[in-house]
Symmetry: C2
Subunit: 205 residues, 2 copies
DNA sequence: TAGATTGTTAATCGATTAACAATC
DNA sequence: TAGATTGTTAATCGATTAACAATC
């Protein structure tokens, strides 16, 4: 489908462009240039043009890019021109925050369920969700065809949860547990670990 | 101090090595090799040796690296051989989760205060913290000499908060608001946006 | 000693930037 | 038309990998 192989690093920048364009659209802007978009996201104009041109000729010489058109194209490329169901595993503070998070709206995602293995938590209400038992998780994910999960359990349990998710057919994992996960090649993992992110900056202090 | 300029991309991998080594130490292991460490974090052995060798000769031919020794060195390099005070701005669900987060322990950080501009939230208790008024923030950060902040306010308020933080002397910002921040060159920003992270993976689904 | 593994060099690979013809 | 900005090429820059002498 994608003629040439798109480098990972380019795919990684597209959501940033998408977010900035969405913001411009919200502000009522109609068109932008690689120059202007670059200033917003801190990336050179040349690189933005190169990145976007991997997927087609979406701009016009002299006038730049139609924001709405480019938004549509980027959503299509990133496959967020639809709504993906996502499950949360772990009903602690982070799981709680994610279940209530309004920021998935309009970005292509919707929390579908939240699981925990603690019987004391199972059955509890979190926002509009009822915490479900991890024991039923694989079956539920399989039958619902869910492909995306977020792990918010302690590090000690994270690999085990990841194994179950993979078994259930999940293909993309957002991991909040502070540990590197071992998954098959066809499964993607993204890591969110505040301490790790902070440690990337203390070097420069 | 650092003889040659260390590339950003290398600095970014060090916290991942640190985390894996900490885990190995917790498991009671004494030594490791670039090979073994690489398998844990999904990075080639050659790259790990190259990265580490930027800072000194920390290994021994034939036997590899002493985990404790390498931990000490990495903590020193990343400047997390001390405890950094960090402030949280925004007392919503994410701010709440961060204020209670146990994962900063032993990673070099400690939440020192949490601020919000909503008078209804000011004075409320969150774990062991009392939410403080954003109006007092700049003064407090300055007098405490705090250099690190986490922003968990809505996107619409994030740039304004960032400006205040910079004014207060903050040099490292972990931004949970879904927006690119504009800050001076001497201030670092790391971004945590679950939707953006998820969108990096949907491309491959 | 024999085996293992580092630190480093050189080769390869990939990403970014600069520049500009094409064209709206 | 004149001015602006794209898409693309070639040049540059930087990162990764492979290989191996050094040595524990």
């Amino acid at each position: 489908m994608n003629a040439k192989k798109i480098p990972d690093i380019i795919v990684g920048r597209l959501p940033v462009y998408l977010r900035a364009l969405q913001r411009m659209a919200d502000m009522g802007l109609k068109t932008t240039s690689s120059q202007e978009l670059g200033e917003h996201v801190g990336i050179s104009a040349a690189q933005i043009r190169k990145d976007i041109s991997q997927f087609g000729e979406f701009g016009k010489q002299g006038t730049g890019y139609s924001i709405e058109f480019l938004l549509d194209k980027l959503r299509e490329i990133l496959k967020v021109d639809r709504i993906w169901d996502v499950v949360v595993v772990g009903a602690g503070d982070v799981g709680h925050a994610l279940a209530n998070y309004q920021g998935f709206q309009d970005r292509g995602f919707r929390v579908a369920a939240i699981f925990d293995n603690d019987k004391a938590k199972v059955g509890q209400k979190i926002g509009k969700f009822v915490v479900e038992d991890t024991e039923t998780m694989v079956e539920k994910i399989k039958s619902a065809g869910i492909k995306i999960a977020m792990i918010t359990v302690p590090a000690s349990a994270a690999q085990e949860v990841a194994d179950k998710l993979v078994q259930a057919g999940v293909r993309a994992i957002l991991n909040y547990a502070p540990i590197s996960l071992n998954v098959p090649n066809n499964v993607r993992v993204q890591y969110i670990d505040p301490s790790t992110h902070l440690q990337r900056m203390t070097f420069y202090l």
